[in-house]
Symmetry: D2
Subunit: 329 residues, 4 copies
């Protein structure tokens, strides 16, 4: 399997560069008979799209998906689903300097070393724009899972500001996707301040999965937590992954750990218990700061836009594990 | 590929239960002509073995590996290498109660639900004893990598005690594998105290890889950090994974982040830069506490014994990525 | 890996239906720096295209490939190469009857049973038009192999007519791609006669690979002959595969078999010897005969058009094996 | 996935050399709760074993399987099943000459070239003895399939002698596993004659699968016929594979082809129809003839002993396809 594919039974293949003709995804292993149309992709693509608020990049793309295969008369056929999104914004001259100058903290230098020849425009394949493919595949993945499964990503922390309350209805009402409206205001202010200084910041995202089916995940290398870690850490901006009590377990005692099942994060022995999954991802600050930020169109804080991508990757892992569990039942 | 296999070109298949006849591993994809004998496995198996110090389980196993295939006249042949370790300690009566009673925080309940029929003795397949297979494969993996590559795991924190200094020579001189001898004493005392209370604790481990070859890792789903996360999170005791500045990036600003290349952890764009890899894993406290701890043979703190397993998994990922990079050169 | 993907290091993913918006292919694992443009695909697509001669279907498609990713400034970047071909000819009304009526010998009945919901137009995914994807991938595969490697498919037999001589220059000069010009005339006449009766015929194709690199193929399940068989038998029209002396070995004695190395077909122990590969595939007669043939646009003999597809699949297997051999060198 | 593994959901990993300590197999993906014990393997191992009749090699191995994992209290646990068979017969001195002398038609020369260092004793990994692993996995595969599925291999032809009748009860009553007792006598006589001349012969085997479940096989690269071809052609002695009318389709007309559904071999569009599968494999004559045959212990005709291996490989493919079909249902 190629390194641009992910999944065993629900297998996603991503392709495309930031400033090439198009990006897209092929989804192989979606059962037949599921209602699906291009319009299904629009809400999630909208959530991922730049230019949604004052704290995101001003790059404007309409991100119009086109369904090339696998759907007939509004329903999936069991055949591979290919969805393509054309790139409209190909101002490649903006990026001429990047042919030889490497932006610090970016893939520029490793790709140049590894491949020799590369598409330097806007990060090329390493651009966050690749995550379009994941968001599209995530929409299909969700359709395979039982309808009750609910994947909720939200911002736990940005810089020094941490959410103190959790109100699910608040998440989509603020620019940072925080479930604590008051904290959201502080976070937004903090980001705007950094933006003015051509600086940036990172954050923490929590992903909750409610009504998770029990018995997902396979011993020993495909433990659910391992597959989730792989999926989540394959997103460029993610620097850390944990589940349940996560890094806090380092300071916990066993008696305390087992006293609250939420510490298990919904996974025991690598297999889902049927309780809520609780995952955390740390997001690095955008490395497009200073001079790089002055020229380009960059997010001072990528955290809110990473959330739909994180949710999509979780959905993909769960759909794959769900199909696999059915095979062995 | 089965869920008990890991790796593309260097492919490891683990098998066996804690109290079955044997555990073992098949390693497929080791190039021919590499010197290898059973004696090569002994040092790492020794490091993983229980009963090494006052703070580990008293279960005693000689862990004698047997080389069944893939080696001829002391060198690998390019054929699958199978290594088997017999279980001597099969006091399965000790575990009769576990047939129906589930230990909190263990795989007992999820395995029972998922499989119906299971080997309940000592965790069966979900036992930490399975990691023998990984340690053995790790020894072979290291032989594929350039000799200069050096993988060093050490305990960063246990409970409230954190290492303040780093002296590589100290790591193997104390029971907790800490590079700070003084912190090691505090950690050991802390563990012994918990042991007396039939309690347990977790910790943090750092894995450094010195002289890492550049250009390992493949876009986009097989980024080196994603493969490492998968491998590390597939170890039962691990609750979190990060690289470089890791979870601290959540509070960092971009200018600070890019000001110190160590924050990148040796990986940019998912590809190794050639600098030291810097990975962190959080380890949960053993869930065998209270009554469970009174009856069985358990570690109050698994952290030091997880280190050789972590190192092995890192070696396996690097060997696989190394072979893959050669294919595309 | 999904079932619409093939290959380990050189991994091809095919998508698209005969009468959907487009067909295409994603090629993951092509090394960087290889000269590639859409124009490279045209000759092979031309060889596969219908309407080339009096004995092929009159369906006319311009088969214009579009390169969506993986190529920058005329050279591959190491990123997945996606190529899409739009379907122009979507006269789906012609196929309305096929919604409920199954053509004998086609996938219609099994797809209907397996998937329930299916694209019935012109065979949908099961149409021979899918092989466009393979031909495109084959072009890229050939660019990875040493330039001297030469893959030659030619028609050995059609109905009762068998080639008696082998003149490589003759192959592309006749409608049946036969290396014996005189036999080609008989074959063509035979096909035309069947065409008038709305009947069809099958044939035998031989694929020779000259200057095959030695040491391709991996024990034990990825023997070169096994991978080639998988690839070749995945083409809809192929009913049998053999290498070297093939089915004739059933009647051979060992002494005779070993007396002529051509009997080994260039493969010993599943690994290429460096001699010419010699493969044979049997092609079934088109099952679109009688009433089905009267209505549609069908080939009375698919053999000549299968040849570029066979060559492509062989190229894909060799490219994959070639990369794998490099990894273990 | 390594090249010594086969299968997606039912994944078999084979290991071991002819004259090393042991051969064996790991079977990953067998559902839990299936009755299984070592005694289940004995009948099939017996059918494969040498020394069963006057026309097979006199090498005697008791082939005692040992079950190392994956079974508890007589039933599978869903965990990988490892079975090992020790080699008793390690008269490696017999083979000292093969260190540098290559037997014609064997893997000796390609393995030496590819790997440099190899186990030359009795073919090492390339020995037919490796098929033990397949036969063992086949037994498990059959347990996954519905009990009514019946896989029957029988000898169709040996040298010039072809079966003219089909009596299923006759197959196991003669040394050549022919369903025509009279033809079996001629075949046996023919083999004995060749044996006296230190010569050998090949043959044709047919494999029938009765009560095949419908809807097995996945488009487009995992068509059932493609997976079966891969599996069957991965057996060293097999030189050709076909299904249904097979190579005879080359001379057939479409009207004739569709007039008898047996020509489809139970597969349409790459998917099983629910009718009997009908597969054919051509087997090459043993290449251990003349001087090689005089020294060693070789079969003058391997055909009858290949039959249980062919049946096993078919069972493995069907079990894998069966699990996959369940996933997508």
């Amino acid at each position: 399997m190629g390194s641009n594919s992910f999944g065993n039974l629900f297998c996603v293949t991503s392709f495309g560069e930031s400033h090439g003709p198009a990006l897209g995804v092929t989804i192989d292993g979606c059962p037949a008979g599921i209602a699906l149309g291009v319009e299904d992709f629009l809400p999630e693509l909208g959530r991922r799209r730049p230019g949604q608020s004052e704290i995101t990049t001003s790059r404007k793309e309409s991100d119009q998906p086109e369904l090339l295969s696998g759907v007939f008369e509004g329903r999936t056929t069991g055949m591979p689903i290919c969805v393509v999104v054309r790139n409209e914004n190909q101002r490649s001259k903006d990026y001429e300097k990047l042919r030889t100058e490497f932006r610090p903290g970016h893939a520029d230098e490793t790709y140049a070393g590894k491949y020799g020849h590369r598409d330097h425009r806007g990060g090329g394949r390493s651009s966050g724009r690749e995550t379009l493919a994941r968001v599209i595949a995530g929409v299909v993945a969700r359709k395979i899972l039982p309808e009750t499964v609910c994947i909720i990503g939200h911002t736990l922390q940005i810089g020094p500001h941490r959410a103190a309350t959790f109100e699910v209805g608040a998440i989509e009402t603020n620019a940072v996707r925080c479930a604590d409206s008051q904290a959201a205001e502080h976070m937004t202010g903090y980001i705007q301040e950094l933006q003015r200084e051509f600086n940036s910041c990172g954050g923490l995202v929590e992903i909750l999965v409610q009504n998770t089916p029990a018995h997902l995940g396979e011993p020993v290398f495909d433990k659910l937590k391992a597959r989730l870690a792989h999926a989540v850490m394959s997103i460029g901006a993610v620097t850390g992954f944990s589940y349940g009590a996560g890094f806090a377990t380092a300071e916990m005692r066993g008696q305390d750990y087992i006293s609250d099942r939420r510490n298990f994060g919904g996974i025991l022995g690598g297999v889902s218990t049927g309780e809520d999954l609780r995952l955390t991802a740390s997001i690095k600050p955008s490395t497009s700061v200073g001079d790089t930020a002055k020229q380009g169109r960059h997010d001072p804080c990528i955290v809110p836009r990473v959330i739909p991508v994180l949710e999509a990757m979780v959905a993909i892992v769960l759909a794959d594990a769900w199909l696999q569990a059915r095979a062995y039942q």
